[in-house]
Amino acid sequence: MFDTTMIMAILPEILMLILGLLVLVFDLIWKKRDGRDLGWLTAGGLLFILIVTAAIARPAESTLVFGGMIRYDMMSYVFKLLFIFGSMMTSFFMMDIEQLGKRGEAYILLLVATIGMSLMASSADLIMLYLAIETTSIPMYVLAGFMRDDEKSTEAGFKYLLFGAMSSTIMLYGFSLIFGFTGTTALTAITDFTLPLAVGIIFLMMVGIAFKISLAPLHFWAPDVYEGAPTPITGYLSTASKAAGFAVLLRLFLGLFPETSPYAPTWTMIMAVLATITMTLGNAVALSQTNIKRMLAYSSIAHAGYALVGVVSLSELGVGSVTFYLIAYVMTNLAAFGVIAAFSRVAGSDEISDYAGMSRRNPTLALVALVAFLSLTGMPPFGGFVAKVFVFAAAVKADMIWLAVIGVLNSIIGVYYYLTVLKVIYLHRMEGENEEAHPIPITRPYAIALTVLSFAILAIGIVFGPWFNIASSVAEGLF
């Protein structure tokens, strides 16, 4: 009954679970240790899992395993690697954060959330999908509220839980209707694309997904949660968690309402409108933010809008470009949040105005900030530029030129607020202070992670061919 394909299909999940249990046991029995042991264990373990998975778990063809529960294909492979990478970077960022980095529980929560995301990206069944979403969400609620003596953190966790539970319940109601009208929960077994009440089902599922990837008008939780949660967790939430949401979006909508379905124009139209609102609103509100975490929250809302443009074009190129966009976005945003975490750990502030003189306080960190923010802006030669080009190209090819135009206009608005931050970092000075007297030391975990991320952003931006081939192979499996 068991064969190697089945083991390979869930190899990363098994390894991550083992790692999580190791962390938990290690936390209990090993008393004499310096603070970072658990962090290094997690990060090292994840690096090992990343290499092993990349080397031996690459699927040859798309197969269904575990009674049709999950799919073992390129899409799950690529997204799993992305999640494991993101989780590794997050554990680097977590290590030196007070009250977070020394707690074994934080790492096991992170690992289980990653397991959940991996299952989300590979689910082929509604039951598995629902469980995977909850396996991701529940640890994330706890992580967002982890600093339980901090008013903001507990509030963030609480809000995230309330809105998260509500939206997944609404999505669940949609699932129950799908089961009712088709008599099956397997996404692959649903071949009748003319469901009764299809518009209602689309609406219910859209609510759940729009919440997960923070599309307007269901984005309102994101800035609050992003601001209150510990910074490394915010970085993880805004990248890996969002990428997992997109994976579900692709699986669900391309599985239930593919091109051939009469409802395909309906949902793509709704999403095109949502993408427009999301991009515009995210960028417009980001302009007036003074807290950098809130600003990046609105910026990440806008980025969800850009990525959605690729989904709307409903083509192989479109899906490939979304995947590419997500890869570039995960690297870039993680770097941005890494910089913020490293800065606020020393400076104790997330206000943009306090970043004045940072280029003198730590030139290297300022350089990473430059790379990250320029990539978010969409400047060549960084990853963000190529990603935007692909997404907008997909929209143009699908005869949605208006959407591409809106996207480009929004990118221009984006330039303004990203460059404002860089201006504060590079041109403003601390008032009446000598910046050299207030250095911002960065510890080794930050140094490693930020170096890796900076090079990754450059690598994606300059040598984009291989990356795009990987992204396209994901798309081929879905059409």
Partner: protein, 102 residues
Amino acid sequence: MNAVPVNYYIILSAILFTIGALGVLIRRNALVIFMSIELMLNAANLALVAFSSANAQLDGQIFVFFIMTVAAAEVAVGLALIVAVFRTKKSIDVDQINVLKG
């Protein structure tokens, strides 16, 4: 037992779901909001079991079984978060929980 159309069950579940959603939207007590979410989950469960019987497919009941497990986990974490919020703020009125400006 006389026959009951499945539609009736689904309509009942839709009504319960709406009441739950209204509870989430109009109540201010965090605990009652959380209870309303449980009511919504329950409505989805009822629909699933009804569909399961109508289609003579067991999958719906299995789904409900898993949903109950998830609900238990969610409640445990949710109530822990509510307790944590209450410790820092001494209130569970969602209008008081607004240090972070939305």
